[in-house]
């Protein structure tokens, strides 16, 4: 009888281990893919901001944060939350824009791109984070 009891205990422990590891490993592996794709999207969006020379115009207007928010909202894919930090290295000033839901994101990826404005002799660092709110077991 003692052997049977031991056997049952071992089986229960193993099954518990198997179930728990499945629950823990699955979301992690799923997030690995999501992160990779979000990183790609964030980098391409940051490049759009830099290559289009939009910053050369909007960073010298009043309330540049509002314009940045309009542009990034328009170009970012649907169902993505974002946070954009533009650092003016010349004036050591930071402009931060984010969507209200960004803090609730369970996964996000950040891309960093440099942009130098030769016309106004300024250098900007664009840090663009894209995130998603995921939930449940994937």
């Amino acid at each position: 009888m003692r052997t049977l009891e031991m056997a049952l205990i071992v089986v229960i422990i193993l099954l518990l281990y198997a179930t728990l590891s499945t629950y823990i490993v699955t979301p992690k592996l799923s997030l690995k893919n999501d992160y990779y794709l979000l990183k790609e999207e964030a980098y391409s969006l940051a490049r759009v901001l830099a290559d289009s020379h939009i910053l050369m115009h909007i960073m010298y207007e009043a309330n540049p944060e509002d314009k940045i928010k309009i542009v990034v909202t328009a170009f970012s894919p649907a169902n993505r939350e974002f946070m954009v930090k533009i650092i003016d290295l010349t004036k050591n000033k930071v402009y931060l824009v984010k969507t209200p839901g960004f803090d609730k994101c369970t996964i996000s990826a950040t891309a960093t791109v440099f942009y130098s404005d030769s016309k106004h002799n300024r250098i900007f660092v664009i840090e663009l984070s894209l995130g998603r709110i995921t939930g449940g077991k994937t």
């Binding site: 490993v25 690995k32 759009v48 289009s52 328009a74 894919p77």
Partner: protein, 267 residues
């Protein structure tokens, strides 16, 4: 004796159970690892879609890899950076431009060229330009038999689309050899560069079984006048769609002067 037999039996059962649990674990692990390397990820890696600056050949290569290996597994879209549509309005063209998430960007600049083809040459042209906030009425007339070349600019971000009757579009251009494969003698070739607002006549010569056209950087299409027929052939795959799918990656890529929107994901 009975105790011994029961002990041995239980030990065997225990071993079998442990083996079964391990087998289950190993199989689950393999399933999960296979899921990580999904078809979308495979396609992105194989087509080198991780880059943001591509040549026109790279864009064609993406479509080739997709059609040959992934068409049944995932969906792919290559479009201009903006969603550009036209519709008739009192005989004129009304132009609508939004982003692909249906958002409006204020003060986009547009150029629109209407090309009317004759049997031997371009018979007439119409041109218009201005600013657009979502939709605007242009000064170009609407016709279903004309070719429309539309350029949209947001500061230095430029994108284009060509709207042409289906019977005028022909896949005669091979991006890998840079040649147009014509059936009869080519009499005249025009290159389309959306910035110019009108087609530009180009020099061409016979080469390696096709026709090589001397084109400028930024050329998006060729209008070819052959003996007995006329057609337009595209240099960029700017309007590639593959039916409905769930987008997993939506990104922007640059090629020559233009920005394109690429989306792919599982079906």
């Amino acid at each position: 004796m009975i105790e011994w037999i029961s002990e041995i039996g239980v030990a065997i059962l225990l071993t079998l159970l442990i083996l079964a649990v391990y087998a289950y674990q190993v199989s689950m692990g393999q399933i999960l690892l296979t899921e990580t390397y999904t078809d979308t990820i495979k396609f992105i890696n194989k087509s080198k879609l991780v880059r943001t600056t591509l040549s026109y050949k790279d864009l064609w290569e993406i479509t080739r890899i997709y059609v040959t290996e992934f068409r049944d597994k995932i969906g792919l879209t290559i479009k201009p950076a903006f969603n550009i549509t036209i519709y008739p309005s009192d005989g004129y063209v009304s132009l609508c431009v939004t982003t692909w998430s249906s958002q409006t960007i204020p003060f986009l600049k547009y150029k629109i060229t209407r090309i009317i083809l004759g049997s031997e040459d371009i018979s007439s042209l119409e041109y218009g330009e201005g600013e657009v906030i979502r939709c605007t009425k242009t000064n170009v007339h609407y016709s279903t038999t004309s070719i429309y070349v539309i350029l949209i600019k947001y500061y230095r971000l430029a994108t284009f689309t060509i709207i042409a009757p289906r019977n005028l579009v022909l896949n005669a251009y091979d991006p890998y050899t840079d040649l147009i494969y014509n059936e009869t003698k080519i009499e005249k070739v025009y290159t389309i560069i959306p910035f110019y607002g009108k087609p530009v006549e180009a020099f061409f010569e016979k080469r390696d079984g096709g026709t090589f056209v001397e084109y400028e950087y930024g050329t998006v299409a060729f209008i070819v006048f052959e003996v007995g027929r006329v057609y337009i052939t595209y240099r960029f795959p700017f309007n590639f769609t593959s039916g409905s799918f769930t987008p997993e990656l939506e990104k922007y890529v640059h090629s020559e002067y233009y920005t394109f929107y690429i989306s792919c994901g599982r079906r």
